[in-house]
Amino acid sequence: MHLIPQSWAHWHILVSLLPSVGLFFALCLYGMGLYTDKDIIKRACLIIIALVALATVPTYLSGDHAMTGLAGNPRFAETMMDSHFKWSVAALLFMAVTGIVAWLELVRSWIGRPSENALHLVLGLGLVTLALMMVAGELGWEINHSELRLDPETQKTSQLWSHAHMILNHFPTVGFVIGLGVYVGALILDNIVLKRAGLFLFVVCAILTVPTYVTGNASMWAVTDPVIPGISKAVINTHRDMALLALFGMAFTGVTAWIELWRYRYLGRFSNLSLYLVLAFAVVTFGILAETGHRGGQINHPEIVLPTDVLATDPKLGWTPAIELAINQVTWFVPWQTLHFFGYSLVFGVALVTSLRVLGFCKSMSFAAIHRLLPIGVFGVTMNVFTGMLILQADSSRYLNEITFVPKIIFLTIGALAVLYYSLSERLWAVKAGEDAPMGAKWVAALVLASWTIVIMGGRLLPYL
């Protein structure tokens, strides 16, 4: 891995993620800060938005140099680069203005509260910038990824998977970097609200890793069967091996972060030992993510591969091909599938009981009493992510092309994110025995139940449709 990128194109691929995906996470956290009216979150987000805006400078410069360097290369069409350039300049200008307004408001309100009008102005500008970034990003990806324009009729596995993976893989990685920044800042400032925000971001990124891993598996089939010239399955397998490690790292970080959020509800404080354990997991996972991303980039970006790089050539080497072989043995497949069914029983049981209480059943119990059950459901989800990924390796090409697989994965992500609300909502936590839950919480409970029902139905229908 090159710790320092050796070309402008490589620099551009990396830094351009900050004003785009970084801005998305900053705006999500900012929206939560405005909704919950937490000044510390609003200020932290103003700082993040301003820092993200600073990244417009290296993004523009690296992009400009990369265009000059790649001009004349038949792989990259000049018209596409021009189109990406024009939209990017507009997006970067808006980003710069958003960043300047965020800095001005941060300085102006250093003593006292931030102004509501200025905060909403930052939000509005940020949203317009994000829309422009989406267009610029899409045009940027299309410059290099010609496989996205292949005739769908000739494809066994849709290139929509590759497209989805290309976009999705940046969310757990860039989100994790922002989460790590917020978390380290929180530990230095010893601020509880920021610590919760950092832990929340870790859990969200861990959840997003699941669809990222699945779309990655599908992309492998989309770009190797039929073979696309220049794309090697051996190189993909080295990326898959590291992605598997990243999945483990994300799971450890996400689950320990969630446990801290859960325990905080009862103890009213954090354990320093647990907080630093989460930090240790996060730092190790960050290193694994960086290597995973780097290996992923080598698959289809010949412009960033150096002459000194040694790329894999044997597609049978690595852990994932070995796992594929092992899991196809009935003595391995059946035990993990059994565990998968246990996992769903745990998840659905806990989701049902908790959601029914929120919807108005069993009012003799406070929400805090029901909330005690949540770790059982979270362990069920974790078990199922790993057993599900193992089962997927047995025949991923078939599973991924079944029509119920996509809704299963989409609602798994939605269901897991919705459950997170149970451990974060202040109003729900205050619901005592005999009291009714807020209306908003009831909608979330309905979403949780509907999501996990679709996940189970989608999974069960896989072998039959």
């Binding site: 103890l267 003595t331 035990p335 565990l339 246990f342 770790p375 078990m383």
Partner: protein
Amino acid sequence: MLSGNGFIILMVILVSGSVLGLAGLAVYCLNKTVDQSEG
């Protein structure tokens, strides 16, 4: 010597028992830390 089916049943019991056992232990420990703080 175990037959093919016997080996599969043994694997199911071993894998499920160990993973569910670990998860159960973790849930027990988590609840205990909360009980102690409330008690």
